[in-house]
Every structure is written in C-alpha cells, then in structure tokens.
Symmetry: C2
Subunit: 189 residues, 2 copies
Amino acid sequence: MMGAMGRWQGGASERLRDAALGLFLTQGYDGTTVAEIAAAADLTERTFFRHFADKREVLFVDGDEFERVFLGGLPDQADDPMTLIVGALDGAAGLFPEERRPWSRARQSVIAANHALQERELLKMSSLAVALTRALTARGVDAASAALAAETGVTVFRTSFALWVAEGERRTFKEIQNAVLARLQALLA
Amino acid sequence: MMGAMGRWQGGASERLRDAALGLFLTQGYDGTTVAEIAAAADLTERTFFRHFADKREVLFVDGDEFERVFLGGLPDQADDPMTLIVGALDGAAGLFPEERRPWSRARQSVIAANHALQERELLKMSSLAVALTRALTARGVDAASAALAAETGVTVFRTSFALWVAEGERRTFKEIQNAVLARLQALLA
DNA sequence: AGTGTCATGTCAGTTACTGACATCACCTGC
DNA sequence: GCAGGTGATGTCAGTAACTGACATGACACT
C-alpha cells in the first residue's frame, strides 16, 4: 500500500515536474530553489537531482521523446535531402495538437523569461540538428548538405513553434509549418 | 607607475581571458576553478566576476564586437531579404582572417568539449539572429521573412565557421562561406 | 595636502550540484 | 512467514559558482 508519507508515493518525476512548472509560473525560475520544488513534491533536494541532471532539465525531459518522434518521421529514402527533412517535419507536427497549446504556452513563457533556460532549449535543438544530420548521412546524403538541410529543418521547426505559441495565433501547427517552409523556399528562390 | 603587486597592473580583463583560455586548454573547463583563473591573472575571484558575468562569459566577450560588425555589414537597403543577409555575411567574413584561425581552433576545441559552453555559444548565435531580424524589419522586411532570413544567415555562418576551424581545412573563411551559401540555395531550389 | 573616484580586496552568505552511506518498503526464494 | 536482496529515498558533508556589503589603496584633480 502506498502510504501518505512522501516516500514511495510513486510518480516522483511527474510530481517534481508539475511542482516545478507551477512554482516557476508564480515565482519565476530564479526565484524558485530546488529545495522548494522538492518540498512541494514531498521529496528532498537530493532526490530531485536523482531524477533530473540539473535544475533546468526538469522542463526538458520530454525532449527525448520529441527527438525520437522527429527522427522517426524521416522517410527511409528519398532523392533529395529536403524531401527527407520535410517528412520529419510532418511527423513532428503530430506532437503539437491543439490541446497541448496552452501547456506549451505556459512552458514557453517560463523559458522566454530566463536566459539559462533559453540556452538549454537551444542546446536541445542543436542536438536534434546533429541527430538529423547523422540520419541524413546514413541515408546517403553528403556531410555538408546533410548538416545544412538539418539545420534548416530545425530553423523551420523553431520558427513555426514560435508562431504557434504566439498570442492570438489560431492556425494549427501543421498549417503554420507548411507556410513557413513555403516562405523559406520563396526567400531562397 | 604600475607596480608589480597585482593590483593596478592594468589590463585585468585581458589577463583573465588569457589565463582562462590557457588553463581550459590544459586542464579542461570543468577542471578549472574561477579562483585558479583569478590567481593566474594575479587577481581575486571576486574581481573575475566584476569583469565577466559568469565563468563561461570569459570565452565570449568578443561576441559583442562580433555582433556589431555583423550588423554593420548589412546594406542600407535592398530589394530582397537574402541580399541583405549576404551583405552581412560578407562583412562578417572580415572578422576571420587566416592569422586568427589557430586561436579560433584552440577556443573552439575548448567549447566543443563542454556542454555548458556550447549552450552559451548557441545563445550568442540566437541573440545575433534576433538582432538581425530587427535590423531586417527596420529595412522594411516583413516579420516572418525577416526571422527566417536571419536564422538562415546564422545557419550559414555557423556551418561555415565549423568548416573553417576543421582539421586540415585550407580555404579562406570567405571561400567557404560562399560555397555553403551556394549549396544551400541548391538544396532549396 | 586634501578629496573624490574607481578598481580591487575581503568576507560572509546562498544555492546548485555531488559522493558516501544509511534507511526502508517491497519482492523473492525458501 | 521470514531472511535477504533490490531500488528508491533520506541524511549529511563538501565543493564551487555567484552575490552583496564594506574596506582599502592608487590615481587624478585641485
């Protein structure tokens, strides 16, 4: 039986994540200590650091699944690199359904308010670009084109995501992403 | 007269920067404490933090001048956004003459070995993209195209820089950048 | 000489993060 | 049932990044 004592309540990671986002929203990231988050989740600071590599990471654990889905959307093969990238972008769009938009907005508002969190987000994007580059070269794309196509794909994704969570935006993620891609092709035509 | 006592030797920032890069190269970033850097520069830890906002920043102070030059290369006006971006890229190429390549390689080897430093570098690039976006909109480019063109420009720069500091690379920065840009245009044609 | 200014030194404190070891619920074999 | 193993958690001590408050000392100006 699960007691009410804090230890062994189960779902420690989720409790920590929820407590953290809640506190960040009300007190700000810098104004919240890890000890506070842990206490709010009925755990200790040490346990927090067993679940997350550092304080920032509590907002980025979903990143692993994100990268997996993104890569999973890559077609097995295609004639040109950008066709591969567009396939991955289409797959990623599935990760951002309408019902997730409010949560994404909340999370993004916290990140936008803090440099350290922006850095972490950029690192995740960069790591995604690296993984994409590897996947492209594995499909026969030369290294330079692969890196460029991957970076460009990430740029399209980031730009689209920023628009999607922007105040007042109504279009779906997929619609936005298609529009962004079309505009980029027009720019470089 | 400048005594030899450590205080008031002048050039504190530069001494700290040199000491830091030297120690990072031999002991690694994590293996070097701020106290060590300060001692090597004949200063105290507290003084280090008066010159640099944090430990990472000691490797990134040039970033401000970099951003300034990059923006300074922007033509006053042009018909399409990418022409503006290409102008800025040409200006930036002047910041990386051959004699700077060894130093850039050393610095980059330190950054490549450490996640925290990569994060900071990505933040600088992101901040450059934001500044570029602003400059483009100020020249009449619509917001979405400006953001996309700016991000793309930064991608071209980053890709080019990575090639330039790569082992065995002989081409000049400008040559590499032109090649990267041409390849990107081919990709999206 | 007197005075102000500015970079630096000194010191105490907070917080992120880590290693070592103890504890306690649960499960497993018997 | 009960002895022992396992894994998540707690406890504690320590390091290092970073900050605020205040002292100090060289220099410039008068």
